[in-house]
Symmetry: C2
Subunit: 431 residues, 2 copies
C-alpha cells in the first residue's frame, strides 16, 4: 500500500474472503484505511461492507465514491442492505437507497418500517414457495425455469391459496424423491412460522432450540412475507451473547474500534453508578468511625469480607442471568435455584469463615476478631447467594435487562452487608 | 403424573418438541422426574436424550430400562450418539454402544477416538458426495436411488478419485439447473475443508465468519471423512460463549442443574483465589496502620478508590477477553488498543477525580484529602486500563485462557494500586 501499487494489492487481496478483508480494514488505523481504500476502491465489494463493524463501516462509506458504493450495494441480498443501511445517518442512507433498483429499494424501505431488532429487519424477502398441491416434478421444473432465485436456500415453503405457509420441504428430500411424489408428503415434522414482529433474540433462541435451518416469516394476518436463515440467526445469537457479556461488565454496547471519546462516554455511566454504590458502602463504614480508631485491624480486614461477598454475588448473579437468557430459569424452578444458591453460600461461607478466622487469629492474635470475621463471612456469602439470584429474577420480572443492572445492585448489597456485619459484630463483641 | 395417567401424559406431551420435553425434564425435581419417566418411558425418544443437560442426562439414562434406552439411541445420527455417549461413565457407555448396529458402533467408536472438543467429535460421518465429473442428472439419479441418505443435507461434496473433497455444490443450484450441467460448474466460491483435529471453537468461528452451512471434514491425508453442519456449529458457539461468561465470573463450567455440593466445589477455588487477592490488598493497608489511626477518614474513603479501579479494570478486561475470543484483537492493533484503554482510564479518571475530590472536601472539609483521593483515582483508573488489556493479552500469549484467569490478576493489581496510591499519598501530603 505504501508504494501505491494497486495491482499488487488487488493480487494480494484476491484470495481473501470478504469477512477477512473486513477484519483487515478494522485492524489498521484510520489513515492506513484511507490509503488502502483509495487504491482498492474499484474492487470494493458489497459483502465487505456487510462484514465491517458499524463504527468502521460509516467511515468507509464516507470515503468511498458514490458510484463505487452504488455498485457495491447493488449485488447484496435485501436483508444485507437493510443491515448495512439501518445504522447510517440519513444522508448516507438516502445515497445508498438511491443506488438500488426500484424493487430492491421498496423491499429495503419496507423492511426498515419494521421495528429495530425484529424478525422483519432480519428476514430476507426472497423465498422459494410452492402451492401445497405441487409434486416434486412441478417444483424442479419451476426452479429450473427461474433464474432470480435467492443465492442460498434450503427449503421450499408450501403455501395455501391465502399465502399462509403450512410446511417446509427440504431440498434434500425433494431431490431424492421421484417426480410424481406430492411435496406435502415430504414435509418436515418440525415447522415454525415466525411473526414479523418477533424480537430477534427470540428468533435466534428458536433456531438454536429447535435446530431450524430456515424458517418462514409471516405478517399479522399469517401471510408469508419472507424467511430467516440459520446463518443470520447465528449472527444474532453471537451478538446477543456479546451484549450480555459486555453488559455484565458494565461496558454498554462498545466495540474495539470505537474511539477514545466514545468509549469514555459508554463506560462513564457505569463507573458513576459504581461510585454511588461505593459511597453508600463508605457511609456504612463512617457509622463505625469510633470502632475503627480504636481497633485499626478492622480497617485492615474489612475489605476482605466485602470482596468475598462481591465475588460470590457475581458468581450467583452470572449463573442467574445466563439461565434467564437461555430460559432455563423459570417460575417452576426458581425456588429450588434460590435454595441451592443460599446453601452454596452457607457452606462456602462456613469453609471460608474457618480459614479466615484462623488467619485473623494468627495475624492479630485475637480470637474474638477471628469469630467476628468468620461470622461476617458466613452472613455475607449467604446474602450474596440470595441477592445474586433474587435481584436478576426480579429485574427480569419488571422488564429490565438483568445483565444490564444486576451487577450494581448485587455489589451494593454485598458491600453494605459485608461492612455492616463485620464492623457491627466487632462493636457488639469486642468493644 | 400424580394420578399415574400414562395415556393422558402421552397425549399432553405429544405436540411438544424433543427440546421442550428435555427442558421440562430439567425443570422438575429429581423425584418428579423419576415418576414422569416411569410413566413415559415407552415414548422416550433418542432426540430427547440428546437435548438434555449433561447432569440430568446421566440420571435419566440410569432410570431408563436398557431396552428402552437401546431403542431410543438406535434412531440417532452418529454425531448425536457420540455427543450422548462421550460424557457417560464406562458402564453406561458400553450399554449404549452394545445397543447399536455393527456399522453404527464402529462409527461411534471411531469418532470417540478423536480428541475431545475436536472436529472429529463434532462431525457426522454421513456425507453425500459425488465424483467431480458428474452432471446434475447423475446426482439426482443417485439421490433418488438411495434411501440411506442423511436426515438433513444441504450440499453435495465433489471429490476427486483419491477421496479429497474439492468443492461444495448447494442443492438449490443443482435443482435449478438442467440435467446436463456438470456439477463442477455450480461449485460454490467459498469452500473450506476442516481438518479432523481442529478445535471445535475454531470450527464454530469459521462457520460464523464465512457464513458456512456445512463443511467437509478431512483426515490428515486430506481425505473426506465426514461433515459438520451449521446447527452443530451454532450449538458449539453457544457453549463457547456460555463458558466465556461463566469463566469471567469465576464459575467454572457449572450448570443450573448441578447439586449444591458440586456447585460448591466449582466455586470454591475462585473464591479461594479471591481470598488471596483480598489478603494481599489487606497487607498493603496494614502498611499504613499509623496513618489510619490518625485519620479515620482514610479508612472510610479507601474502598472507593479500590472499587472504582476494580470496575474500570473489569470493563477493559472484558472488552479485551471478548476481542481475543473473536480474533479482533491481534498483534497488529494491540498497541492501539492499549493506548486507547489507558487514555480512557486517564480521562474518566480525571472526571471522577474532580467529582470525588469535591465530595471528599464537602464531606470531611479537607481540601488535601480531596487532592489525595482525586490523584489516587486517576492513577488507579489508568493502571486499570493498562492491566485490563495487557494481562489478558499476556495470558493468551502463554496459552492460558484469558477468560479464566484475568479477573483475579486485574483485581489484585487495582486493589493494591488503589490502596497504595491513596494511603501512600495521604502519608506524603497530609501527615
Amino acid at each position: 500500500v505504501e508504494e501505491g501499487d494497486a495491482e499488487r494489492l488487488t493480487l494480494l487481496m484476491e484470495p481473501l474472503h470478504a469477512a477477512d478483508i473486513a477484519d483487515l480494514l478494522e485492524q489498521i488505523d484510520s489513515s492506513e484505511r484511507k490509503a488502502l481504500l483509495d487504491l482498492y476502491h474499484h474492487e470494493m465489494d458489497g459483502s465487505i461492507l456487510s462484514e465491517l463493524d458499524e463504527s468502521i463501516r460509516e467511515e468507509v462509506i464516507s470515503i468511498l465514491r458514490p458510484e463505487v458504493l452504488a455498485e457495491a450495494v447493488r449485488e447484496l441480498d435485501s436483508d444485507d442492505v437493510v443491515d448495512l443501511v439501518e445504522d447510517l445517518d440519513a444522508e448516507q442512507q438516502t445515497a445508498i437507497l438511491g443506488a438500488l433498483d426500484q424493487t430492491d429499494r421498496v423491499a429495503v424501505e419496507q423492511a426498515l418500517s419494521y421495528p429495530e431488532f425484529s424478525a422483519g429487519r432480519l428476514m430476507q424477502r426472497e423465498v422459494v414457495m410452492a402451492p401445497e398441491h405441487w409434486t416434486v416434478g412441478d417444483a424442479i421444473d419451476y426452479l429450473r425455469g427461474h433464474d432470480d432465485l435467492p443465492e442460498q436456500f434450503y427449503h421450499v415453503v408450501l403455501i395455501d391459496p391465502r399465502m399462509h405457509p403450512i410446511a417446509n420441504v427440504t431440498l434434500g428430500k425433494i431431490m431424492s424423491s421421484p417426480r410424481s411424489k406430492p411435496l406435502a408428503e415430504l414435509a418436515e415434522t418440525v415447522f415454525k412460522a415466525i411473526p414479523v414482529s418477533e424480537y430477534e433474540g427470540d428468533v435466534a433462541y428458536a433456531f438454536n432450540q429447535y435446530h431450524l435451518i430456515s424458517a418462514p416469516v409471516v405478517d399479522a394476518e399469517g401471510r408469508l412475507v419472507g424467511q430467516i436463515t440459520i446463518d443470520d440467526a447465528m449472527a444474532v445469537l453471537d451478538e446477543e451473547h456479546e451484549e450480555d457479556i459486555l453488559r455484565l461488565a458494565g461496558v454498554g454496547d462498545g466495540s474495539l474500534n470505537d474511539r477514545v471519546f466514545e468509549t469514555m462516554k459508554q463506560r462513564f455511566p457505569w463507573l458513576a453508578v459504581n461510585l454511588v454504590t461505593a459511597i453508600i458502602a463508605s457511609l456504612v463504614i463512617a457509622m463505625f468511625e469510633d470502632a475503627l480508631t480504636q481497633i485499626v485491624a478492622l480497617a485492615v480486614l474489612m475489605p476482605i469480607v466485602a470482596s468475598m461477598g462481591g465475588n460470590a454475588g457475581t458468581q450467583s448473579l452470572t449463573v442467574a442471568v445466563r439461565s434467564i437468557a437461555t430460559r432455563d430459569l423459570t417460575g417452576s424452578n426458581v425456588w429450588r435455584v434460590i435454595r441451592r444458591e443460599v446453601l452454596v453460600g452457607l457452606f462456602n461461607g462456613i469453609a471460608f469463615a474457618v480459614i479466615m478466622a484462623l488467619i485473623g487469629i494468627a495475624w492479630f492474635g485475637s480470637p474474638v476478631l477471628g469469630y467476628v470475621i468468620g461470622t461476617a463471612m458466613v452472613i455475607n456469602l449467604v446474602i450474596a447467594g440470595l441477592a445474586g439470584t433474587v435481584i436478576p429474577v426480579l429485574l427480569d420480572k419488571v422488564g429490565v435487562d438483568p445483565a444490564l443492572a444486576s451487577g450494581s445492585f448485587v455489589t451494593t448489597v454485598t458491600d453494605v452487608v459485608g461492612f455492616f456485619a463485620f464492623l457491627g459484630l466487632a462493636v457488639l463483641w469486642i468493644l
